[in-house]
Amino acid sequence: MTRSAAGYWIGFAVVLALLVVAPLVLPEFWRRFVTEILIWGLLAMSLDLLIGYTGMVSFGHSAFFGLGMYGAAAALLTVRPPNLWLAILYGLVGAGAVAVFVAYFSTRLRDIYFAITTLVFSQIFYVIIFTWTEVTGGENGLGFSQPAFAIPGVVSARFTPVTLHWFVLAVVTVSYLGLRRITQSPFGMVLQSIRENEPRTRAIGYHVERYKIVAVMLSGLFAGLAGVLYALQNKFAAPDFVFFLVSGEVVVFNVMGGMGTLVGPVAGAAFFFLLRELFSRFFTEYYLIPVGIIFTLMVIFVPQGLLGFLRRRLNQ
């Protein structure tokens, strides 16, 4: 193992340990806040597979996130008693099905056209969910109860905020390791090759479209998983999460955190959430004005994102 790899794993262990301990030491609000950031971080991370690794900017991740959420809702509302694993399964199936559909059409297009196609697809799902009140609850969304953490014959316990945090942390960590491995696998290498130079990748014998479809699907599945976790934590699903502005925010997390690093988007999510939370405490009504100004300045002066910025600083 090289020195930098050892450094990486030490850093990973430290951050993980901090996150494990966090709910035990943080005040209750911040405990839940951290859990929520992890969930949004997973969503942002899933998008990084496309933006950072394949070079495709999706504005449709709200659809995968939302479908994961509604999938989980379907499981939790129809099956008695509510089953955690079924919720995850339904959520993944929901997000995956949508991802296949979206991927099939949108990957034929590139750049801004890909972005707009994904955005429009997510708006179609939004309109359907928003207006189909009988099934989706329409604007009011769906509320449901939290399932217990149960492995048949082993344990069965209700979630507390602390155990839920650990569960979310476990899922996000495993997802992170999974995504990291995917990006380091031969398949992930092909994705990065597409990002760097698509025609060249084609010319050395890769069927680029097929790789893109699989990338969108995988990304959609992880986004769906984030949706399931959100549903578990907050016990409701709402059409607002399918709205395109949510996708926009997730792109923002990626750009602010640093694309192509997997960790960066999580940092971006944390930064943006903290920024808004802290500013909202000082300027009750108009905090989005300074947030908007800071954000615009960051786009101009820190184009490589927080992580890229830090990395450059550390290297100096």
Binding site: L109, I116, L288, V291, G292, I300
Partner: protein, 290 residues
């Protein structure tokens, strides 16, 4: 199913009127994209601020035309400021960064409007109030005036672009920035002016639209997505295409609303957009260039 001819005709008129306003918003957007590769996410906010500025002037002077003129000038100036401070440093970077920067701006502008103008919706009175009967409806002349004015503004822009000295500069810059610079055209200035023109057009449509809907801080949001769709269907950066696409999509939605529910009518336009992108990615109304 019988075809309701009266409704059909009404919807043609509706489609054209809505389409012309949409075209006015979209042509500013597409102008900016075509020349600078900037996807201006704050366009809806410029539309909204234009309407607010118009309503303020209208409130003090009572003159619609003065309000229109003031909004156009004021927001045009604001556009120039935004371009020089925020977008000029981003020139040549990924268009994604311009989306994000203008997204940040839209946050600022929207909340500024809320702060400055307060929560109560404002009003701009239409300069003409009459109506004529159209089958079972009384149709307001003002809606037709809006269509005509939008057409006139777009036509004016077209004439300016076609014959004006700066119009030629702008078109030359659109086609080939580098060669335009080599021909002595001050490209950075052209960019600023174009953004100002785009902003002014958004403001003009905001004022024109004001009497139809009232003025509120969120009115940009309702418009911006549709304007983006129009720009894409028309071919990004293609002015003529945007106008045709705006009318086409508005007509389509108006017709669709005869037979299907309004929500489904919205989906129809989304589906058209996706089909357009898949089969004519450069837009519905331009021949695919080699």
């Amino acid at each position: 199913m019988t075809i309701p001819f009266d409704l059909l005709l009404i919807q043609v008129i509706n489609g054209i009127v809505t389409g012309m306003i949409l075209a006015l918003v979209a042509s500013g957007l597409t102008l900016i994209f075509g020349i600078m590769d900037v996807v201006n996410f704050a366009h809806g906010e410029l539309f909204m601020l234009g309407a607010y500025l118009g309503s303020t002037v209208f409130l003090t002077t009572g003159n619609f035309w003065l309000a229109l003129g003031a909004a156009v000038m004021g927001i045009g100036l604001l556009g120039a400021v935004i371009q020089t401070t925020t977008l000029r440093p981003l020139l040549g970077r990924d268009p994604l960064t311009t989306i994000l920067a203008t997204f940040g701006l839209s946050l600022v502008l929207q909340n500024y409007a809320l702060w400055q103008y307060g929560p109560v919706p404002r009003k701009i009175n239409e300069p003409i109030t009459g109506h004529f009967s159209l089958f079972y409806l009384e149709y307001p002349w003002y809606r037709l005036l809006v269509a005509v004015l939008s057409a006139a503004i777009i036509g004016g822009l077209w004439l300016f672009m076609k014959y004006g000295k700066y119009g030629i500069w702008i078109r030359a810059t659109t086609q080939d920035r580098v060669m335009a610079a080599a021909m002595g055209i001050p490209v950075p200035l052209v960019h600023t002016v174009v953004f100002a023109i785009g902003a002014a057009m958004a403001a003009a449509s905001g004022v024109l639209f004001g009497p139809l809907t009232g003025v509120n801080h969120a009115m940009g949001l309702d418009f911006i997505l549709r304007a983006f769709i129009v720009v894409v269907v028309g071919g990004m950066g293609n002015l003529g295409g945007s106008i045709l696409a705006a009318i086409f999509l508005s007509l389509l939605e108006a017709f669709a609303s005869i037979w299907v529910s309004p929500a489904q009518a919205v989906i129809v336009s989304f589906v058209v957009l996706i089909l357009t992108l898949l089969f004519r990615p450069t837009g519905l109304f331009v021949p695919t260039p080699k």
